[in-house]
């Protein structure tokens, strides 16, 4: 049982109160038996007016379902139990239907939440009850920094960042008391992110309550007053944002503390990379990227005449915002795309197109990079014989080998992707946002093993990320992608 440490609001009726809430999905396992999958259990949370409460948990942990449960729009095979109170009264199915969009509004996670065949202005206007709908909508667009013309566009004509701002606009149009924001920030560049955080803060200061669902502890700390830590379906701790300081002495649960300490800006890894100087002496050849260029058909150059050198055993960070083209660069270097000029060379020789590529790449989403129809062992064997020492370094347990990919977590799958990429005579590794989707603790463990591997095997690593703190922690040197292109 978690106790809410909020003292300031103890007298008022909270806007939203969730007590011992649990959610079960009925689904089919192997064979013909039905199974119940418990996604959320014993979830507890209170939100008062003027307060932003962050729900912090790993991606895929079922946080988004909480939002749907509060709004009463869960799919049919969900079974819920526990208490949901809004302004002190029970939130029944009937009441949810009445309050949805009027008193409780949602900022959804995905830009797919916009109707593809309706102009965005109209989609926002359906939320406005007052007269002069068009005026009101245009005012809101101005507030979130959207041009007037955006209202006459269809969602596909807007960039990801603009579409997100349209989603935020809908929640402002409704004049709701409680706003549930479901991961509204990924993919926003820092300036827009600051803007968005500011918008939300203003909404809260105007007396609204907000539930902010995220996997990113740093954003949670930036925006929220209180943070509910969600781990394996449970709230393990509800802490004030201010408790996240120093070495985390004021945090009570060991996991929360580990999460805080594992942040790149805190302890992260005590081991400092020093392998670089040793390995270079071993006389291994370096990876030389000379003047590569790329653009997609019918669009402008993503990068042109890009030069980059990675030494064996060296970890080089490439920092840039999402959508800047750094992933495309990674794919060109690892041979997934053909460069439109220039070469990628090892020991002065262009890497041949056919055969095993000496530069292997690991992707952001491990579940997409693994064949779901194979046992995980088979995935490893695709790269060659299983290297037990490698598995040990990466923290892969023997009993995982016999499992199906769907039975492993994202962090576990990513370890397998790394193991596959490192098996055999891989000389360089391109790591494209490999820990972005993982929680801080797993992130720290994975980078720990990678630094060890780079040191041991003299493998050079090109680490690509939007997280500067992370790169600072793990890399020998950092290059800004904008300087490169």
């Amino acid at each position: 049982m978690v106790e809410d440490k909020n003292i300031g609001h103890s007298g008022e009726t909270p806007l939203l109160e969730v007590k011992d809430f649990s959610l079960i999905f009925r689904h089919y396992g192997k064979g013909l038996r039905e199974r119940d999958l418990e996604v959320v259990r014993n979830f507890n949370l209170t939100i008062h007016e003027g307060e932003i409460v962050a729900v912090l948990g790993a991606s895929g942990s079922g946080k988004s379902l909480l939002a749907n449960a509060i709004l009463g729009i869960l799919p049919d095979n969900a079974v819920t139990s526990g208490t949901l109170n809004y302004k002190g009264a029970a939130l029944t199915e009937k009441k949810q239907a009445l309050l949805r969009g009027k008193e409780i509004s949602l900022i959804p996670q995905s830009v797919n939440a916009l109707d593809p065949l309706m102009k965005t202005g109209k989609q926002v206007r359906t939320m406005i009850a007052r007269r002069n709908k068009k005026r009101v909508q245009q005012d809101i667009f101005k507030k979130v920094g959207l041009p007037d013309s955006a209202g006459d566009r269809y969602p596909f004509e807007l960039s990801g960042g603009m579409a997100r701002r349209v989603l935020i606009s809908t929640s402002m149009a409704g004049n709701a008391n409680l706003v549930i924001a479901d991961e509204p920030t990924p993919g926003l560049d820092p300036a827009v992110l600051q803007e968005t955080v500011g918008q939300m803060r203003r909404l809260a200061d105007a007396g609204k309550g907000m539930m902010f669902i995220t996997h990113d502890i740093e954003i949670a700390l930036q925006i929220a007053d209180k943070i509910a830590v969600f781990y394996e379906g449970e709230t393990i701790e509800i802490a004030q944002a201010g408790d996240f300081s120093g070495k985390g002495e004021r945090l009570r649960h060991p996991y929360t503390r580990a999460l805080w300490r594992a942040l790149p800006k805190n302890d992260f890894i005590s081991l400092q990379p020093s392998a670089y100087s040793n390995s270079r002496k071993s006389g291994k050849p370096s990876l030389e990227i000379k003047g590569i260029s790329y653009h997609y058909p019918n669009s402008s150059w993503l990068f042109k005449d890009l030069d980059l050198t990675v030494q064996p055993g060296e970890i080089v960070g490439v920092y840039g915002h999402s959508g800047s083209g750094k992933s495309t660069m990674a794919q060109v270097i690892a041979g997934y795309r053909t460069t439109l000029g220039g070469t990628v060379e090892i020991a002065g020789k262009t890497i041949p197109k056919k055969g095993r590529h000496p530069v292997q790449m690991v992707w952001q989403h491990p579940e997409k990079a693994i064949n779901p129809r194979w046992r995980i062992k088979q995935t490893l064997q695709e790269a060659g014989e299983i290297d037990q020492k490698l598995l040990k370094t990466l923290g892969i347990r023997q009993d995982w080998l016999e499992r199906w990919p769907s039975e492993l977590s994202g962090g576990e799958l990513q370890r397998f992707c790394l193991a596959r990429a490192m098996t055999g005579d891989t000389e360089y590794l391109v790591a494209d946002e490999i820990t972005t989707m993982l929680d801080a603790v797993t992130q720290s463990q994975i980078w720990h093993s990678l630094i060890e591997l780079a040191d041991e095997r003299g493998v050079g690593i090109l680490a690509i990320s939007h997280d500067y703190h992370l790169l600072e922690r793990v890399c020998d040197r950092i290059i800004h992608f904008d300087d490169l292109k």
Binding site: A113, M118, G174
Partner: protein
């Protein structure tokens, strides 16, 4: 769509049609020339014994049968390019005329069935999709699956037995009553002959549209934007009207246009059962009676017909869907 893209699109479509027609004509000509059926014999029929070898040779020379298949194809293809599809052996008039006349009759039948089945199918699909899993849904789904498994000609036979033989409401066959000149047949009389084949064809056509519409609506109702619309407080008929219909009508109408091939297939069978003098009946007779010029002509014509349907389906998307309209 700007004009240069438009030109590119039209040019692409014309090229595609030309390549299809060329390939179809070569393939079908090849198939026809492979046939073991002797065209002269099937033309003359029982009188074959009375035809002397010289007369036979004359006929063969007249039809060009003494030339090599390649030469035959080239001279036929050349004539087709000049608009001459040859002369039908069965009807003893130009193939183009036969097709024109027969197709008009078929068109009335197919258009009627196409519109009726489209409307009923769409409504049934929406009803089922809105109430997925309910009794109504199961009823409609079961009905559609049964229809999809029903031999169209058997359904026609049953209708004929029930309405024409048993109740005597409709004539047993022929597009117009026998013994009356084509021009003298009244509209009511024509409709009476059109009714049963059109009914059969519509009943069969409903299943496809209904099932597709249902599936699409279920997908749309589960989409993130409908979930979000629900979160915004929209529900019931408003939700269906604003987000449902907008997103399902496009694929449904498009699918219906793209089903001209099946529509014609159904018409062939319906016309045969009800002795309706349309193009479908003509193709059966051409096949049975070895009327090669007519058979080839109809093959080319139906290719054009199906292509038109697909083109309309494509154009419909291009004109209506903003993602394609503005994206181009």
């Amino acid at each position: 769509m700007n004009s240069s893209n438009m030109a590119k699109y039209i040019f692409g479509k014309i090229l595609k049609l030309a390549s299809l027609l060329a390939a179809i004509s070569i393939l079908s000509f090849l198939l026809v020339s492979l046939s073991p059926i002797d065209p002269v014999q099937s033309y003359i029929g029982a009188d074959m014994t009375r035809v002397s070898p010289e007369q036979r040779e004359n006929i063969e020379a007249y039809w060009g049968l003494d030339e090599s298949p390649v030469q035959q194809y080239l001279s036929w293809g050349n004539a087709v390019l000049q608009g001459d599809l040859g002369t039908s052996l069965l009807y003893r008039s130009s193939v183009a005329d036969v097709i024109g006349e027969r197709f008009t009759a078929s068109l009335a039948l197919m258009a009627l069935a196409w519109i009726i089945s489209g409307i009923i199918g769409f409504v049934l699909g929406i009803t089922a999709g809105m109430k997925e899993g309910s009794f109504v849904d199961k009823l409609i789904k079961g009905y559609c699956f049964t229809l999809a498994s029903t031999p169209a000609f058997w359904l026609g036979l049953l209708m004929l037995m029930f309405f024409s033989v048993w109740l005597g409401w409709f004539p047993i066959g022929l597009g117009s009553p026998a013994g009356i000149l084509e021009a003298d047949v009244s509209l009511a009389e024509r409709l009476r002959h059109l009714f049963l084949p059109a009914l059969t064809l519509s009943v069969v056509g409903v299943a496809n549209v209904a099932l597709h519409t249902r599936q699409k609506l279920i997908e749309v109702l589960e989409s993130e934007y409908v979930r979000f619309a629900m979160a915004k407080g929209e529900r019931g008929f408003t939700l269906l009207w604003r987000h449902g219909l907008r997103n399902i009508s496009l694929p449904a109408v498009s699918l219906h246009f793209a089903s001209f091939g099946e529509l014609f297939g159904g018409a062939v069978l319906a016309e045969q059962v009800f002795s309706y003098p349309g193009l479908g009946q003509a193709v059966v007779q051409a096949g049975l009676g070895s009327d090669v010029p007519l058979l080839l002509g109809i093959v080319l014509f139906t290719t054009l017909f199906v292509f038109t349907g697909n083109l309309l389906a494509d154009l419909f998307y291009k004109v209506i869907d903003p993602r394609i309209r503005r994206g181009m």
